[in-house]
Symmetry: C2
């Protein structure tokens, strides 16, 4: 009997060190909203998304390559930038053929942590590219770590629900000895038919909707396959894996 590859879920960046990334495909998950925005921009024709960890870096890098500097801090467009972290901001007319240089509170930080820990392969996942992520992981047959970005190192429900959605599709093909993964898939199966109804119970929903009125963002970020491409990290950039 052939040994199946392993699958683990890291519920917070503060738990990422517990998992061996060097032999794994790491899926960076930041449903509200970094990885949804990355999928959206690439799906709409962006040449690449370059994740950076600060606003000054985003501005400098974007000048050098004639790209769009964008990002958020605490849910708002970051000070000094004109563009934020909304997936709906990056229409084909605006982002097609251009490069997005993005800095966010949680998602881009987690990606940097995965790089620092020598992740073998890094892709970005969220409901808008659920199928692309699952198809890739099934084809690779490598070990997987689903890395939830959370909110400032705290657990969040939306990233965990996405991890559960992936596990729901992959469970038979992977060896899963991981309570985080079992919890995630159990939670997803409980709520998968009413994700949008469940959304108002998420702490991040209140941050985004009640403070910033971003209900259309939430809807997009919870719609499976709305931007079904696979953002793949290579040489400092996220590009579409064909």
């Amino acid at each position: 009997m052939k040994t199946q590859p392993s699958l683990f879920t890291s519920l917070s960046p503060a738990l990422l060190h517990l998992y061996d990334l060097s032999d794994s495909v790491v899926v960076i998950i930041d449903v509200f909203r970094a990885t949804s925005t990355i999928a959206s921009a690439l799906h709409n024709g962006a040449r690449a998304v370059i994740p950076v960890d600060s606003v000054p870096k985003a501005i400098e890098m974007s000048k050098n390559i004639d790209g769009i500097a964008a990002g958020e801090r605490d849910g708002m467009i970051a000070e000094g930038l004109q563009h934020g972290n909304s997936p709906l901001e990056y229409s084909r007319e605006f982002i097609g053929g251009r490069t997005l240089v993005l800095t966010t509170t949680n998602g881009t930080r987690l990606l940097q942590m995965a790089l620092d820990r020598n992740a073998s392969t890094i892709v970005a996942g969220s409901f808008p590219n659920l199928s692309a992520v699952c198809d890739y992981l099934l084809a690779q047959k490598k070990n997987v770590v689903l890395g939830c970005a959370g909110w400032k190192d705290r657990f969040n429900l939306e990233d965990t629900l996405f991890a559960g959605a992936v596990i729901d599709r992959l469970q038979e093909q992977f060896s899963i000895h991981c309570d985080s993964s079992l919890m995630a898939v159990s939670l997803y199966r409980q709520h998968k038919d009413n994700l949008l109804d469940f959304a108002p119970r998420l702490t991040h929903y209140h941050r985004l909707v009640q403070r910033f009125g971003l209900i259309e963002d939430i809807t997009f970020c919870l719609t499976p396959d709305a931007a079904n491409v696979l953002p793949f990290y290579k040489d400092g950039k996220l590009i579409i894996k064909k």
Copy 2:
């Protein structure tokens, strides 16, 4: 309208630093098996349980006070000790009137972390003392942090289920803006009527039952109010809070 006290759940010792413990009652949760064993020993008449962080300390301390040195490492009785971390080991005949000096992989370590972080009040919780914990928290009307011990900093289902059981009873009396808590209570409500049937899905179940045959321990550890006392930390000891 009076402001309700807050309730947060820390899913792993590696996340405990995210919560303010100085103004909170911290519930140390290590369902399999430290906090279940602590409740059992005190319920059966132990004068106190002294948590220590190493086997040599357990031996030295127990000699000084004519107590029982006990503990586990990786699920087994720790090398150098004659007694382990099984709640069923501490019958009234054996432990009544004596002091238990206990060292464990996760639970006693988390307790020490809570002390280091200046927790206002520390109690120990597990299914065998569910009602005692809930009654105390309801009476105190203070902020609460439910601290899951996990397994070597990894999330585990059984501690989370217990956190969910507490939240299930307290939800109306506390202000809960915490996705970990919402997940825990959702998970608990999904499985509360069949906890013993759910147990074989837990990674720790396999560790304890398949490797060590501890099915009776598991059953005890998942039985609400089987040892319904409140272990309260004071001056280096856990004693019954009357």
